[in-house]
Amino acid sequence: MNAIWSETMHPGGKWSGIVGRGKLIRLTALEAGANVSMLMYHARDLSERYNMPDTLKAQHTAHLTRGNVLMSDNGRALASILHDDLGWHDPLGGYTTRAGTDSKYGVSCYQESRNGWLRSGQENLAVELVRNGLGERDISPVVNWFSKVVCDEEGNMRFADNHCAAGTTVTLRLEMDVLLIFSNTPHPLDPQGDYPSVPVKIEVLPAVQVDAGDYCVNFRPENRRAFDNTWTYYALQN
């Protein structure tokens, strides 16, 4: 399937855009060790957004992979994970901050480093939120694509090294018209001392049909009910 559109997010880069229901978004890690932080909002009602606790509780999981559905705070399926090379993407670790980026990788600024300065997730997300009529007030837990964080029985969080190989892809199908915000910035718990610099390709692919035997719809009874809520929402509109 040929992409309708594609773009490479440079290390430290960001992107936001509205993508329609049924279309696919494919992310590809062009080198090993990628991390892309993502926020997602209903394009026509920005107060409805991806909700981490609702998503995880409904699917009894603390990681995301094929079959999982990203659910909104209004009880609907926003997007589903149609394909995943990796088996584990992190919904818990959050985004990097300016203070955290400076203390871990050294202070950097545009004046000295030009476009090689080290961007933070917080600032990238803030810019794209404001661009779309939202603000830092609207930040909530992100999905960190390509990263894995495990928790031991005492609750200690550990970033899994060497999780994402070059060429890894993950594909989302959008179940509603959504505003997507991406920041290609390091995972905040990534212990490596050098700022990870991995380009990531984003592609938008043509819409596909959701049929009754769909893997994500049938992954769990909870997913089916989230889809029901989404389909009802659109039935009332059309």
Binding site: S47, R49, N51, M52, P53, D54, L56, K57, A58, H60, T61, A62, H63, M71, D73, N74, G75, R76, W88, L92, G93, G94, Y95, T97, A99, G135, E136, R137, D138, I139, S140, P141, V142, V150, C151, D152, E153, E154, G155, N156, M157, P188, L189, E222, R225, A226, D228, N229
Partner: protein, 219 residues
């Protein structure tokens, strides 16, 4: 089996409290703490879930951040010594005593909409925490400064939602008991929003929602 419970008792006497109120199950509470004030939440009958949000009362757009809080301590559970951070990184409060030993901040609050997904479409009418949060915002004189978009993932005091090493999320019976309490000391002018959870469909409050007791000391 759960490990690493960290129980620390308080020396504060109830008779010295400047504020004392019971929040029945299914009801809410919204109150602005002055810097340095200590809020104790008591699980009167045990196994209750007190869904709690905090804000910088001087800047309501800055809400409690579960993710910044757990990242700053590299641990997903809250107990004595945990510093509760806002999305900006500002310190809102810290936990200064805790006789339960572990509290959840990943499970969020129940809502009518999530009940339809998690249990059945027919459960949508049941009372839930997000309705309580919104009713408190509607009633409180300062509530107009907050909106649904400000209802970020909250703390669930007394609730047990373990994450397994395999990346599972499980709901366990409570680790609290009758009279267990947690104390927060505010680090700023902090708005506290509580929904005393009415959930009847999972063991977060032992299928029997019960009252909690809130007390405030000036230090």
């Amino acid at each position: 089996m759960l490990k690493a419970f960290h129980r620390v008792e308080s020396t504060r006497k109830p008779e010295a409290a400047v504020y004392d109120q019971v929040i029945p199950a299914g009801e809410g509470w919204m109150y602005a703490l002055q810097p340095g004030q200590v809020l104790r939440i008591v699980d009167l009958e045990g196994n209750q879930a007190a869904d709690t949000l905090l804000y910088d009362a001087n800047n309501p757009e800055d809400h409690y951040s579960a993710v910044r809080t757990i990242n700053s301590q590299s641990n997903i559970y809250l107990t004595t010594g945990s510093t509760l951070l806002a999305e900006s990184g500002k310190e809102l409060a810290s936990i200064v005593a805790d006789t339960c030993g572990r509290h959840d901040t990943l499970g969020g609050s129940c809502s009518s909409q999530s009940n339809t997904i998690r249990y059945a479409h027919e459960k949508g009418h049941m009372h839930n925490c997000r309705d309580t949060f919104m009713l408190e915002l509607a009633k409180h004189p300062e509530g107009h400064r907050y909106a649904k978009r400000d209802l970020s993932p909250n703390i669930n005091f007394f609730m047990n939602v373990p994450v397994t090493p395999e990346g599972g999320l499980t709901f366990e019976d409570g680790v609290s008991g009758p009279g267990c309490y947690v104390e927060l000391q505010s680090s700023c002018h902090a708005m506290v929003l509580i929904s005393n959870c009415p959930q009847l469909n999972n063991p977060c409050n032992a299928y029997n929602p019960t009252p909690v007791h809130v007390l405030i000391w000036n230090e």
